[in-house]
């Protein structure tokens, strides 16, 4: 189902290799065609993109396809105007992926 692109942290991301995910994160370093971000559980992911990244804030949500356990190809980005409480975000991410709740939140 291409409509589903779950929010993940670095621990959960490997379950979605080949699929689209959303990663709420903090931007750490930027190069011409990659960005290294810190996920809500403190892990680091490499985000690859071409052209103008469109990343203008330090807290963003990266939407992309999972290439491997620590790499994602960017398809879109939401730039947040204010700081995101990544600790709170991580708790929510863990909750929605909990088998007890996954089928209520998702389909």
């Amino acid at each position: 189902m291409s409509e589903i692109n779950p929010r993940v942290n670095s621990a959960i991301l490997p379950r979605f290799i080949g699929k689209m995910v959303r990663i709420p994160c903090k931007v750490l370093t930027t190069t011409d065609n990659t960005v290294t971000v810190q996920t809500s559980d403190g892990g680091e992911i490499l985000v690859k993109y071409s052209g103008d990244g469109g990343i203008s804030s330090s807290y963003v949500e990266i939407i992309g396809q999972v290439l491997d356990e620590t790499t994602v190809r960017k398809a879109g980005v939401i730039n947040f105007e204010s700081e995101l409480d990544l600790q709170m975000v991580d708790r929510v991410i863990r909750l929605i992926h909990d088998p007890r709740f996954f089928s209520t939140v998702y389909s």
Binding site: E3, S82, M88, V89, I96, T104, V105, Y106, S107
Partner: protein, 237 residues
């Protein structure tokens, strides 16, 4: 066609849940897992905006699914731009309205759409949707002190059928009845007015006079009676 109180409620849903909702036939109520849905409130990322002759469609994604929120256009295009112009692609918005089907497509006919400015809002919304769904499934949440949470105020009213007959009473009188009913049943001596006063005053700002008057009113109405002496009360059952 009978509609329950739920038809006047606003239910927070994830987009996957909106897509799971179903309608027995046109004009029937929408339900999700057996519960009727009134209005819904959704929060999603605008991935596309399609402008049509009379309405505008916002394609929303929230990670769980995809839903279109639809709104009618204003009379003039200036009015339209002024009122709705700040909603753009790649923004997160909150929309509130009714689920409607048109052919085999489902929409949320949005009465209200606003940008979601706080990045935490979508997380709050997911948790709210989950909490409400689980409360409807499993019953109200009980905290360690036995108090129901704010989200279960309605269902705890249904669970406590004891209090149903007292719903017409003013709040203080209702509170007193609740305290009397909460006391152990084998206490046939009735409940001392001091105990009632202490429990009721936890609500804050209740005077001794108000309590006296409420007790008198309840006695006049025959709801309570005195037992061992004038200071002990029992609910008439």
């Amino acid at each position: 066609m009978q509609r329950t109180e739920l038809s006047h409620s606003v239910r927070p849903l994830t987009l996957a849940q909106v897509n799971k909702a179903h309608q027995a036939h046109t004009d029937a109520e929408w339900t999700l897992e057996g519960n009727e849905i009134g209005q819904v409130t959704i929060v999603g990322h605008v991935v596309n905006i399609t402008e049509q002759a009379t309405n505008v469609l916002y394609t929303l994604e929230d990670g769980t699914g995809k839903v279109e929120a639809r709104r009618w256009k204003e009379q003039s295009s200036e009015e339209d731009a002024e009122k709705w112009g700040d909603i753009q692609v790649n923004q997160v918005i909150r929309a509130t309205g009714h689920i409607k089907a048109f052919g085999n497509r489902k929409y949320v006919n949005a009465i209200n759409i606003r940008p979601s400015e706080d990045p935490h809002e979508i997380y709050f919304h997911m948790m709210e949707a989950l909490t409400v769904s689980l409360s409807l499934q499993n019953g109200p949440v009980r905290g360690p002190s036995g108090n129901a949470s704010a989200y279960t105020a309605q269902s705890s009213g249904m669970a406590n059928d004891d209090m149903a007959e007292y719903r017409h009473l003013p709040p203080l009188q209702r509170e007193i009845i609740k305290v009397l009913l909460a006391q152990p049943e084998h206490d046939e001596g009735g409940v001392h007015v001091g105990v009632v006063a202490k429990a009721v005053q936890k609500q804050g700002g209740v005077t001794g006079t108000a309590i006296s008057e409420a007790l008198d009113a309840l006695m006049d109405a025959g709801q309570i009676f005195t037992t061992s002496d004038d200071a002990h009360f029992q609910v008439s059952r």
